[in-house]
Amino acid sequence: MKVLVPVKRVVDANVKVRVKADGSGVDTDNVKMAMNPFDEIANEEAIRLKERGVASEVVAISIGPAKCSETLRTALAMGADRAIHVLTEAEVQPLAVARILKAIVEREQPGLVLMGKQAIDDDSNQTGQMLAGLLGWPQATFVSRLEIMEGEAEAGREVDEGIEVIRFRLPAVVTVDLRLNEPRYASLPNIMKAKRKPMDQLTPEELGVDTTPRLRYLEVQEPPGRQAGVKVASVQELVAKLKEEAGVI
């Protein structure tokens, strides 16, 4: 079974992002970039499936500017077998990403697409569900437990009420949550080896996908702030304030 893993290049999770003064977006110049953490977990899971003999090949995909090849090299260094870079300088929104991935699925015929439940930049949490819908495939979202069986799979999904267990047919789209696994670090020999692994380059046009943004981001602002309050010296003072000043207990 071939597994496709879409990976997104995003601002590193440890960077405190800054809103541009002109309201046009978030400053990404000279900011450290990294693989979307949820996608890293998806890639790790795919590699483990291969190590267990469940998957035969792991193919990483990234959509975006030239620098996305770095993110793909990271995926290859972790253990993916080859990479596909869909090169575009333009902004690509979730529905267009899903369409590009659908076109690649049709070429590659994987048994499973494993991807992050959301990207930590736009926080949309849409692409996996959209891809599954467009393909008419089952979807297992927010997965923290995954078992592949003959022609089907079982997943534990992290839902608001706890864990929901579903069974679904393969091929399918699985989006992963934080607790599925802990991604490995790439070793130096594997980083060197990754440089020689194949990376194909395509464009959205070659895949016949129109990526014109459908949503317009008119303005990006600083979120409304919250004033720091007071420090109190004792529990008695705190309870008095909560009771009399704030009136919440």
């Binding site: 930049d121 579903i166 679904f168 047919r169 008695q236 705190l238």
Partner: protein, 315 residues
Amino acid sequence: MAVLVLAQHDNRVLDPAVLHVVTAARQLREEVDLLVAGRDAGEVAKAAAAVAGVRRVLHAEHEAYADPVAEDLTPLLLRLMEGYDYLLAAATTFGKNVLPRVAALLDSAQISDIVEVLGPDRFKRYIYAGNALATVESADDKRVLTVRTTAFEAAPAEGGAAEIVAVEPAEPTGLARFLRREVHRSERPELTSARIVVSGGRGIGSAENFRILEELADVLGAAIGASRAAVDAGFAPNDWQVGQTGKIVAPELYLAVGISGAIQHLAGMKDSKVIVAINKDEEAPIFQVADYGIVGDLFKIVPELTEEIRRARAA
């Protein structure tokens, strides 16, 4: 045209999240209809019809809707959406799972987790884990939106008199099925709708130590939450997690105990009315958003606070 709201429920009770979505929906159109797809969900349909501001309740019954998977709700929603120009659901794991699948097949670019309706085509939503607030415009004929429930008041649960219309279910796809739910049983209020939330972070130190928070929560009648650090460390189950990747809460009182205040946690609770922080590190970022802070050892402060509140309550 009108708004269709996908209602979330457990076949017995209408989820309170729906009331908040109705408020957002009414800011878009006068005509707001609710879809109740369930099994033996007549009581839910009745409750939905009583919500103020609802025009009509579409009630679809099928065995497959007892615990419906997105694959089986999608064909039903696609058929019904012929008569609507908006599809809304709460930005809960239920809504987040179903709506994008429908949106893609409607050729609509969904807008997730809206916190404000600026006009028929303009919305505000947070990006970058709450570090930036974006104004987004959609040019689609049919708009699909998930709604952050804490950003909209609840519509009154009573006072409406909507008609209930039975609609044909869609044929199940057989692609996926629900097996079971592993729920952490609790007598406490539900995290996202609780009036008071007591949350613990990495500073709590162990799963056993959460016991002291439980005692505090008990005297306050509060729900218990946790930071991602505490959940990742195995101190608390994941469904207690408050933050960008967990639950978004906005109670009247939020007590953050041993929580440093990582951005992603703040994103999940900073709209709380009153925030109290208890932390031994006076430089912890949580104090920058707290109305009241105490610097000190939480293992001394929390039991003392529990006792003091018990006394204040008794007085």
